[in-house]
């Protein structure tokens, strides 16, 4: 982050001398984003409205300023979003002047390419993979920038910064390109595309500290609020028309917040009083449940994430 500090070499103008100090994580992410723009024909930034993609948008602004972000943002809308997220998305896009593309899981279902999951754990989280692959095909995107971090999950810990996918969007974890020093190899065949993760080396706390430092606005659901919820399997689920609920599952109103923003059917809340960024940071520092611990989609099996990535999930 830019810090206005005195130069270590004492000079006459010590007080006015402003030094750009290295923030290795930010500097690395900006370097990666610029490499994507330089090495690919049609990059796109995957924007979910969550804190990680909001961070990515700021990094992309910083990478090219005073130019505008030179590639579009793509939102795969599951139709089961928290309403706060969508309003927030539109405001942010307007502010940056970037182009926004939205593609809907609903349409993929209508086209008969996928069908709605049924039962207690029904979610559109997995279905969005098809919508994403269709959008990549439609716009011929060759690089998709995502906000995934290696600290989130075991299979993500092995992900490259430039992760090459085949025509089906699949990840071949046994045949990944080595990444040496800071050199990024974006050479691909026609039909292949690359998923790019500029904040691979950030942790959840790094993201929160950055949000604070940059004074980034984030959706209100990240802060404590009162919400109609019910408990299942030790997790707190949002009571909503999009989330299946047994009759015997009791709805109560509790003060909660969300640590990640997937769609409503796969994101569980945590009990929290944190109403400011500082309180959220304090809470995470104390918390001993990992971030994706409240992601219902990972609980399906021990290797849930790895299986989804092989299917083309980002």
């Amino acid at each position: 982050m830019q810090e206005f500090t005195a130069n270590t070499q004492p000079t006459l103008d010590t007080i006015s001398h402003r030094v750009l100090k290295e923030n290795l994580l930010e500097s690395e992410a900006i370097y990666i984003i610029r490499e994507v723009y330089a090495q690919f024909d049609k990059p796109v930034l995957l924007f979910s409205g969550g804190k990680d993609s909001i961070t990515l948008v700021r990094l992309a602004q910083k990478a090219f300023y005073p130019e505008k972000i030179p590639f579009p943002l793509l939102h795969i809308d599951t139709g089961h979003n928290f309403p706060e997220t969508i309003a927030f998305r539109d405001k942010l896009v307007a502010e940056t002047g970037a182009q926004l593309i939205v593609r809907y899981v609903e349409n993929t279902i209508k086209q008969g390419k996928v069908s709605e999951e049924k039962g207690r754990y029904a979610s559109r989280n997995r279905l969005q993979t098809q919508t994403l692959l269709d959008a990549i095909d439609e716009f011929k995107f060759d690089a998709c920038i995502g906000g995934a971090r290696r600290d989130e999950e075991k299979a993500r810990a092995k992900e490259r910064i430039f992760s090459v996918r085949n025509d089906f969007g699949q990840w071949d974890e046994k045949n990944q390109r080595p990444e040496l020093f800071d050199m990024l190899n974006g050479m691909i065949d026609h039909g292949q595309n690359v998923r790019v993760f500029p904040i691979s080396n950030w942790t959840e706390l790094d993201v929160w500290h950055y949000i604070k430092l940059e004074k980034l606005e984030i959706p209100s659901i990240y802060f404590a609020h009162k919400r109609a919820v019910f408990e299942r399997d030790g997790l707190i689920w949002s009571a909503s028309p999009f989330v299946y609920k047994d009759d015997e599952e009791q709805v109560t109103h509790r003060v909660v917040r969300f640590r990640t923003v997937g769609d409503m059917s796969c994101t569980a809340a945590v009990l929290s009083d944190a109403q400011t960024i500082d309180e959220v940071i304090g809470e995470i520092e104390l918390s001993n449940i990992s971030e994706r611990g409240a992601r219902i989609d990972d609980k399906r099996s021990e290797a849930a994430m790895e299986k989804r990535k092989k299917e083309g999930y980002f």
Binding site: E28, Y37, A38, K62, Y65, K174
Partner: protein
């Protein structure tokens, strides 16, 4: 907070994953749900202890076989520092992962099994560390519990390693720590079973290691990634060069030379987003403007006029091969040096190095996966480089196969 990048290497059974799991556990970096999963899994396998190796072995295949097969990245922090570990496997066939993991590391941990001592694998790890010229090394002698916490055993291993370390040929900082990763002795807390050990714990050492981002030759290198021309009302005539600075600081007013054109100018502005600065430190990304109108495009490099790098169309480098398709003399690759790409034809394979430091083999006609060779290359256009030993950031390149587009090799320039 300062980030320290650590590379770990070790044979399959050295207990590397256990050490990392133990570091995570002792720094409260294992969240309760992960700890639960480890407890459950350890119990299911019938262990009477917590199998911390499960904290890092990510992929399904690995969990089934109980081995690590690719570089995994692990994150933890203490109030003093943030740490990123690149955990590379120690199999004989996976030199490429070790090189990959170590290429970004400031510190390397070499694990030695106290029962086995310095083995062939140790030579290989040390060789790769030396090849990449990693300055800070931690030699961790693990499984001390299985040799009765014997001081003499530790000293013998230390002595054997010191003999090996003399072969590196450059200044290193090496510390030696006897531990039991399984029981946590000397990992984060000093062991009461080894009162004869007067040094620090693994964690204390990691917290106190000094890292310097300026390079040995202290010369600034700024490779242009992208030319910024906003053409908006506010920035109508703005022309800036986006890149990341390495090696040493740059300041407004510095006289610079642009490569390859050799045109000279002075730095007019150092801009980062909406702020401007007088000086930028190495490691920072920013947008730089110069006083004169000079034609500059992606891949060009700006340096101080008094510190020109080497310009070369015929280069010689130590190449580590990472592809199942061997490197053949006469074959053409894309060579990527930083953000710059040229074509490169293999002129000669002069020798293949032995990772046990014995005499190099000069009879081989091609370089196979996991081999390291002395290679001469002829380039389509000159590159502007430093010897790797002088400037890490401007002294390395990768070779990309033009058919498969795989990153087939990495080169360290002489």
């Amino acid at each position: 907070m300062q980030v320290l990048k650590i590379a770990t290497a070790g044979s399959v059974d050295d207990g590397k994953s256990t050490l990392i799991g133990r570091l995570l556990y002792d720094t409260n970096s294992l969240p309760s749900d992960k700890l639960d999963a480890i407890r459950e899994s350890s119990l299911r396998k019938g262990f009477d202890y917590l199998d911390f190796s499960l904290a890092t072995d990510g992929l399904v295949a690995e969990r089934e076989q109980g081995i690590t097969i690719d570089v995994a990245h692990i994150y933890f922090s203490t109030p003093k520092r943030r740490f990123i570990i690149a955990d590379a496997p120690g199999h004989v066939e996976f030199t490429r992962n070790m090189v990959t993991g170590a290429s970004n590391a400031q510190v390397s941990i070499i694990l030695i099994d106290a029962r086995k001592g310095v083995v062939e694998q140790t030579f290989r790890h040390f060789y790769i560390n030396s090849l990449l010229r990693i300055k800070n090394l931690m030699v961790v002698v693990n499984k001390m519990d299985l040799v009765g916490f014997d001081k003499q055993r530790f000293l013998d291993i230390k002595k054997a390693f010191e003999t090996l370390a003399e072969k590196a040929g450059y200044q290193q900082q090496i510390s030696y720590v006897p531990i039991s990763a399984l029981h946590g002795d000397n990992v984060a807390t000093l062991s009461d079973k080894m009162p004869w050990y007067t040094g620090d714990t693994v964690l204390d050492l990691l917290e106190s290691i000094q890292v310097d981002l300026t390079d040995i030759n202290r010369q600034a290198r700024f490779a242009v990634q992208h030319v910024i021309r906003p053409k908006t009302n506010e920035f109508h005539d703005f022309r800036g060069f986006a890149g990341k600075l390495t090696g040493a600081p740059l300041s407004v007013g510095d006289e610079i030379t642009v490569l390859p054109s050799l045109n000279r100018s002075r730095i007019k502005e150092i801009r980062f987003y909406k702020d401007t600065f007088e000086t930028a430190n190495p490691g920072s990304s920013f947008v730089l403007s110069i006083e004169d109108e000079i034609n500059i495009s992606r891949g060009d490099m700006m340096v101080k006029s008094s510190e020109l790098p080497i310009q070369g169309k015929q280069i010689s480098a130590k190449v580590c091969w990472m592809d199942t398709q061997p490197l053949l003399v006469g074959k053409t690759f894309s060579l990527q040096h930083g953000v710059n790409r040229v074509m490169a034809k293999v002129d000669a394979l002069e020798s293949v190095y032995k990772t046990d430091f014995s005499a190099a083999d000069t009879s081989q006609t091609h370089l196979n996966l996991n081999e390291i060779g002395q290679v001469r290359l002829k380039l389509s256009k000159p590159i502007f480089y430093d010897a790797y030993a002088e400037n890490k950031f401007n002294g390395a390149f990768i070779l990309i196969d033009n058919q498969s587009h795989f990153t087939s090799g990495v080169g360290l320039l002489d």
